[in-house]
């Protein structure tokens, strides 16, 4: 009989098995089968996750398992797995949406030659993500963290023959690495303070004793947040995510909307017992989050590439999640993570469907009127867009309002944070509607022949649409007194509850204001963009602003000027000057010395017998002289 820990291990290892199969065995001839195999393994992992969830739901305690890993001196590290309610939520989201995206990829990559590499990487990603969320200590989490970073690199640069795409992959990996450095410092601080890096042990230490230096705790929390910044694309390390759109669209859906970028949020929620105590770092997190949300939303209003709009939208929504975390509303962050996974994945897959139907066109200026040509995609994307704008009763409404209200209630600068969050949400509504209108409504402005996508691609869209619509009912806030907040209750065993606080604006009012602003944003965008010419004429005054937004505030160029350029120049200098001359010179110096000495000594080896004998004679005389020195001559 399979016990729960075995199912847990199976859940994690099944995608790895699929990845190995696809990576090692399949020849390009088995193109379509590679996708089926990969989807099979992903789906079986989802089934395991579901089984474990049911097991947990029926009252069993969280599942743990440990295996000896390595010992270094006093540091004994076990490879530990833990499956509690937070892991359950994450696992279901990751494997469920992951399986749907695998299914979708079969259709999307049908014109590729040799997609077995793609599916191998996709499965590998799933494996690493599962490692990340099931680990019971920071180090195991970091292993999964690095693994998803690797898979992200491999998948973004999937079409590596195109140099720009390969560079995008490298950029993702390198920027992530910077965050990882911060993460590692955070782990080191953690170990120094607590002498353990297991979550339950740290939680116990923090709850029982209070002699920890608050300043040190803040520093630890800050460095872990730096790691989260890299992985979850916050300021200043978000620059890789828009470029990551160079990869196939399902990859963007899975990795950059639903799963990998949420790893940072997951990390902080996992360590919520630490972050409850670190007020200073929390302020930083909240402000960085809301600033990112605003910043990315502004950029998204002027983007023309459909995937770039969605990329910046992701950055913006992640910013909202960090806003929640910074205000100690961990449940709100996880809730929004879940709902965002659904509608963002849906949006990306819909965009993929559009791109696939238009045979590669990604510029929304050349789209339009796809409502009639691609009805399935149109309907599902309509639901997703409404969800992200926060229209009740779709899921986005509930999760976003939870966040905004906790921002208002949860910190000293709550009012400011709340207002900024509202602005970001309104902008979200604006630019998402803009995109929707330009893509699906009006008349078709392009030159290709759009067609609807096959069922393998539409089915996931449908399922995700259902999720986007109804998932919100799992986490209805208390304040509405409609149905209990199932999700919050479920996660209460792991996440510390958000403290109730009095606020100047009641929860109901906040909800109304937010929804009203969202509707306003939708209307404005709908009005202006329904006819493209109307938009251009009306917004002429805002042209300079639009120019700034469209150019992403030139952040990439700034980074290149300040960081990348000098680094490259230093590297070139080192490679061309220092390495050959100094290092090689130093290494070759003994060789050159001995070479020179041997050239000098070569004179003694003239090859002439008489020369040798002369030397011999002289040597003999010298010996004779010394042996006779004692005698009287």
């Amino acid at each position: 009989m399979l016990s729960a820990p075995h199912i847990l291990i199976a859940m994690i290892l099944l995608p790895l098995l699929g990845s190995i199969l696809n990576g090692l065995i399949f020849r390009p001839a088995f193109a379509k089968r590679a996708g089926v195999i990969a989807t099979f393994f992903a789906a079986s992992s989802f089934i395991c996750a579901a089984l474990l969830f049911l097991n947990l739901h029926n009252g069993a305690p969280s599942i743990s398992w440990a295996m000896d890993w390595f010992d270094v001196g006093d540091f004994h590290q076990k490879w530990g797995l833990k499956f509690d309610s937070l892991t359950a939520v994450m696992a279901l989201v990751v494997t469920g949406i992951g399986s749907l995206i695998h299914l979708y990829s079969i259709g999307y990559m049908s014109e590729e030659t040799g997609p077995s590499r793609y599916f191998a990487y996709l499965n590998l990603f799933l494996f690493n993500m599962l490692v990340l969320i099931t680990s019971d200590n920071l180090l195991g989490l970091f292993v999964g963290w690095e693994g998803v970073g690797l898979c992200s690199y491999l998948l973004i640069g999937y079409w590596y023959e195109d140099l720009d795409k390969a560079k995008a992959g490298m950029k993702a990996f390198l920027v992530n690495r910077i965050g990882d450095a911060g993460f590692l410092i955070g782990i080191f601080y953690c170990y120094t303070i607590f002498h353990t890096i297991r979550f339950d042990e740290i939680a116990k230490l923090l709850s029982t004793s209070s002699q920890f230096d608050l300043h040190l705790l803040n520093i630890t929390a800050f460095f872990l947040f730096v790691g989260a910044t890299g992985k979850s694309a916050q300021i200043p390390l978000y620059v890789w995510l828009p470029d990551a759109m160079a990869g196939p669209t399902p990859v963007s859906a899975l990795i950059h909307a639903a799963t990998m970028v949420t790893a940072g949020v997951y990390l902080i929620c996992r360590m919520n017992f630490l972050y409850m105590l670190t007020a200073d770092t929390n302020a930083i997190i909240a402000w960085v989050g809301v600033a990112t949300a605003l910043f990315a939303a502004l950029i998204a209003t002027s983007q023309k590439d459909i995937k770039k709009v969605l990329a910046y939208s992701t950055v913006s929504q992640l910013g909202l999640m960090f806003l929640a975390v910074g205000c100690r509303a961990y449940f709100a962050a996880v809730f929004h993570l879940m709902t965002h996974a659904f509608f963002k994945a849906l949006l990306f897959l819909g965009a993929g469907s559009v791109i696939h139907g238009l045979h590669g066109e990604q510029n929304i200026v050349h789209m339009g009127g796809l409502r009639k040509k691609m009805p399935g995609t149109f309907l599902t994307c309509l639901i997703a867009t409404a969800a992200i704008c926060g229209i009740p009763p779709l899921s986005g409404f509930f999760s976003k309002d939870t966040i905004l209200f906790s921002a208002l209630a949860g910190s000293n600068q709550g009012m400011t944070l709340w207002i900024l969050g509202l602005v970001a949400s309104t902008l979200t509504a604006f630019y998402m509607t803009r995109m929707f209108v330009l893509v699906f409504l009006g008349e078709y402005r392009g030159e290709a022949h759009p067609h609807e996508s096959p069922w393998v691609m539409l089915l996931p869209l449908l399922i995700l649409a259902l999720g986007s619509a109804f998932t919100g009912f799992l986490g209805v806030p208390h304040g509405l007194h409609i149905i209990p907040n199932y999700l919050e209750h479920y996660l209460s065993s792991v996440l510390i509850e958000f403290p109730e606080q009095a606020t100047s604006v009641s929860e109901h009012s906040a909800m109304f204001i937010a929804t009203g602003l969202a509707v306003a944003g939708i209307s404005v965008a709908g009005f202006f963009y329904s006819k493209l010419s109307r938009a251009e004429s009306a917004l002429r005054g805002l042209r300079p602003l639009q120019f700034i937004f469209a150019n992403k505030f030139w952040i990439d160029e700034l980074y290149y000027l300040l960081l990348v350029g000098p680094f490259k120049r230093i590297s070139a200098f080192l490679a061309v000057v220092i390495d050959p001359k100094v290092v090689d010179g130093l290494a070759l110096f003994p060789a050159r010395v001995s070479s020179g000495v041997s050239i000098v000594l070569n004179v003694l080896q003239s090859g002439l017998v008489q020369f040798y004998l002369t030397i011999l004679l002289l040597g003999g005389l010298w010996v004779l002289w010394h042996s006779m020195k004692g005698w009287v001559i």
Binding site: Q605, S606, G607, L608, V609, Q610, L617
Partner: protein, 104 residues
Amino acid sequence: MKFPLSITYWSHFVSVAMFSLGLLGFLLRKNTIVVLMCIELMLNAVNLLLIETSMRTNTPEGIIMVVFVVTVAAAEVAVGLGIVLNLYRMKGTVNLDHFKSLRG
């Protein structure tokens, strides 16, 4: 017959002179065969010394040693000249300056 002491000195004189001449020729001459001859000179110088000592002290060992030296010298010259012949066949010359293949 008694020997005057002075011929001891003269023998030493000759012996050492022959030896040094042989040594110098051995180191300075370029013709291989002449070098071999100088070796003979040196050997003979030693022979003279041995005989002188042996006769002066009335011991036969010196003379016996000389017998051996002469034998070995003869054999050695024969082999040496055989080698010289081979060298001549290889290079066409017996000039020692041309045999430098072990150089370096």
